[in-house]
């Protein structure tokens, strides 16, 4: 299996950049997901690796081998298309054996190798059918078999699950992941679905506006987004982002709320915190921790700051507890939990909060909530970058 290396690779159409110069190294056996909204350049990047699209600058290396200007057929990679691209006039067997025929393998080798992948994917019953007769999931299985049969150095997949029905998608996702673990094949996988990316990737490359926004393990991308775009894009709903003002160690948020944590405050404050006392509302209480305080003061370009936290980092508290005052804006049921949308202040900044299923607050009712301090991140609204502690 191969290492894929992109060095300052770019794609330009006239004045328009489809992909700005980017560096990326994909290690051997790694499953890397290119994630981003449509038009962000992720598919173009994939097509440049495959050779279906020429680069306008930079170099691509496959196992240290310069492949930038090689034809797709000479790169030893397999491509799985969103709409399968199974040759419609050939049976599944002919489709799978088609790449081997290009290599001029003998009939015996071809049938043996087709048999191997067919066993692996358990698609014996489909071999005599034409693509028109196959279901979406089966089409993608045959397409995967066609990619696997060549034993290529790397697999490139362009939204392979995008054209499938929801229930197939879950199964195929697991199948592809299992296949990857089984074959330990270097895989580059393009998707716009962040859930898919989180579930499948060893590493996620988040792209937007023709640029890489962040590269990291799913957990990193989720908990430590590098900028506001990643914070919004990952997760459903994305991170709660509250615009506020940083002043004297505390952050002023809409609706007369302030954010800060004191050293004295216990982390599991809501469960154990006694009935409110006047002391709790003192300025001292709302100081951000010392480490963050210095980072904010050093890195913020102005007084404005964005406080970000995931919906599961917030929890609704009783009426007398909780640091933030808000009003219930809407309430969605999500099966095992419900998603509360709370309006903060008069300009209706909405905070999404995960709440227990049995919590029953009418719309318009006042609600208070707390945030787990270790799950809070800060961003500079001018540069949109995360503040690093």
């Amino acid at each position: 299996m191969a290492t894929i290396e992109l060095k300052q690779v770019e794609k330009q159409f006239g004045d328009f950049y489809a992909v700005r110069p980017m560096d990326l190294t994909i290690n051997s056996g790694e499953f890397v997901v290119l994630l981003g909204p449509s038009g962000c350049g992720k598919t173009t990047t994939l097509r440049m690796i495959s050779g279906l699209e020429t680069v306008t600058g930079g170099n691509i290396f496959l196992d240290e081998r310069q492949v930038t200007w090689l034809k797709p057929s000479d790169r030893d990679i397999a491509f799985v298309f969103q709409f399968f691209a199974l040759y419609p006039l050939m049976t599944a067997y002919e489709n799978i054996s088609f790449p081997l025929q290009a290599q001029g393998e003998s009939q015996a080798t071809i049938s043996q190798r087709v048999k191997d992948v067919v066993d692996l994917l358990e698609i014996h019953h489909l071999l005599d059918l034409r693509p028109g007769k196959l279901s979406g999931g089966d089409k993608q299985r045959v397409a995967l078999a066609r990619a696997l049969v060549r034993r290529p150095a790397a697999f490139l997949m362009d939204e392979p699950l995008g054209a499938l029905d929801a229930d197939y998608r879950e199964n195929m996702r697991a199948e592809i992941k299992k296949l990857h673990l089984n074959q330990n094949a270097t895989t580059v996988y393009v998707t716009h679905d962040q859930i898919e990316a989180m579930a499948m990737g060893d590493r996620i490359v988040v792209m937007s506006n023709a640029e890489i926004q962040q590269v990291g393990a799913p957990i990193e991308v989720y908990h430590d987004p590098a900028n506001l775009f990643v914070a919004r894009f990952i997760g459903s709903p994305g991170m709660n982002l509250l615009y506020g003002l940083y002043q004297d160690g505390t952050i002023h948020l809409p609706g007369d709320n302030r954010y800060g944590v004191t050293e004295q405050q216990p982390r599991t404050l809501t469960r154990t915190f006694p009935v409110q006392s006047e002391a709790k509302f003192s300025d001292n209480y709302y100081q951000v921790p010392e480490a963050w305080r210095s980072a904010l003061e050093n890195q913020l370009s102005g007084a404005e700051v964005v406080v970000g936290f995931r919906p599961e980092a917030a929890h609704v508290t009783g009426p007398d507890q909780g640091q933030f005052a808000a009003e219930v804006y809407a309430d969605d049921l999500h099966g095992s939990y419900s998603m509360l949308h709370l309006a903060l202040g008069s300009d209706e900044m909405i905070v999404h909060v995960r709440a227990a299923r049995n919590l029953d607050l009418p719309i318009g009712a006042p609600a208070r909530f707390d945030i787990k301090p270790e799950m809070v991140r800060f961003f500079d609204p001018k540069t949109e970058k995360a503040i690093i502690q």
Binding site: G51, L52, K71, S73, F79, F81, Y87, P88, P99
Partner: protein, 353 residues
């Protein structure tokens, strides 16, 4: 029926069979449409029907007024005709005269020779017997046979050439970012914008210089050029419909661009190629004006030959009709053979995968 409503049909319903949902108005409109189509078809087929009848009429029957239209002769019919000219007699005796006159050169028998030939009537072929009835002897095949052969060579050759060139050009236009692509496409289309006859004289002069005048090659080149704009545009439409992922898959699978084109695109473009072939063939087969001006003996095609047949010793209507009928046959056969592709081809763009 009660169980049907309670338990359903008891078998999987693959296709809805309910017709009561079609409103009476919609059904009426559909019927009226069908009737109109049939009427239009009948009106359109009348000339061909007349042509068919005329082919099998004798010289006398061709010019009879009112026309005779039932190919059935009886004893009474012949008697009536001689008895009174006023009695309307729609019957005529079908004969092969027209076809024999069309396909053969004949000479008149002398009285003695004719008698001799009558003795050996059974030794003559079917055509010979028909000629003998007219007091004639077959001396050889007529020019028309050669004209028909020329038509086949020229129309066939130019159709193959224009479709083959067209499919390559269309593929290039469809798949590659050529500089000035739109202008080129418009230029190709613009060759159709002026009537071909306008350039007939310059082409005539050019061809005489080049020695292409009255040659098969010259006519094939000319028809190919005229057909190219049609084939390029039509085929581009068809190839645009084929998703380019198929070729890309083949490219990644280790095939060259040409192999991908040959193995993946062509088989899928068959429908479009068939439809285009028929259109190109019909043009080349029916073309009259250039054939009349640019050919004389060697490469003359059937259309001008049929038209000039009138000149020879009285108008042989039945021979002309037979010629037109024979001329129709190849195109009808090919259109019929490709009809499945045509139906899908003519509605191209309407069906998405």
């Amino acid at each position: 029926m009660a169980t049907f409503f309670e338990q359903g049909p008891g078998y999987p319903v693959v296709e809805s069979v309910r017709v009561d949902k079609v409103s009476p108005t919609a059904r009426l409109v559909k019927n009226i449409r069908a009737i109109l189509v049939v009427v239009a078809a009948i009106i359109g087929l009348i000339p061909i029907f007349v042509m068919g009848l005329t082919t099998f009429k004798s010289r006398a029957a061709v010019v009879a007024v009112p026309p005779k239209f039932i190919p059935w002769s009886s004893e009474t019919a012949t008697i009536d005709r001689s008895a009174s000219r006023d009695v309307f007699d729609p019957f005529f005796k079908p004969t092969l005269e027209g076809i024999v006159f069309l396909l053969t050169e004949r000479s008149q028998f002398s009285a003695a020779r004719q008698e001799e030939a009558e003795q050996n009537r059974d030794e003559l072929g079917l055509f010979g017997q028909v000629a003998l009835d007219n007091g004639q002897r077959i001396t050889g095949p007529s020019d028309f046979v050669m004209r028909l052969r020329n038509s086949l060579i020229i129309a066939g050759g130019s159709t193959v050439a224009s479709v083959a060139l067209g499919v390559f050009a269309a593929y290039a236009f469809s798949r590659f970012n050529l500089p000035g692509k739109d202008d080129l496409l418009f230029f190709i289309l613009s060759t159709r914008m002026l009537p071909g006859v306008v350039v007939a004289v310059p082409i005539f002069l050019m061809y005489r210089q080049l020695g292409l005048h009255d040659s098969h090659l010259g006519m094939i080149i000319l028809y190919t050029v005229f057909n190219l704009s049609l084939t390029v545009w039509l085929l581009k439409g068809f190839i645009d419909e084929i998703p380019k992922e198929y070729e890309e898959a083949a490219l990644v699978d280790g095939y060259t661009r040409f192999q991908a084109f040959y193995k993946i695109v062509l088989p899928q473009a068959v429908t479009g190629i068939a439809a285009t072939t028929v259109f190109a063939l019909i043009f080349a087969w029916n073309e009259y004006a250039f054939a009349l001006m640019l050919t004389s003996q060697n490469a003359r095609t059937a259309p001008p030959a049929i038209a000039t047949m009138q000149g020879r010793g009285g108008i042989e209507w039945s021979a002309i009709a037979a010629g037109s009928l024979v001329f129709l046959i190849p195109v009808v056969i090919i259109t019929f053979a490709l009809r499945k592709h045509l139906l899908r081809g003519v509605t191209f763009g309407a069906i998405r995968q």
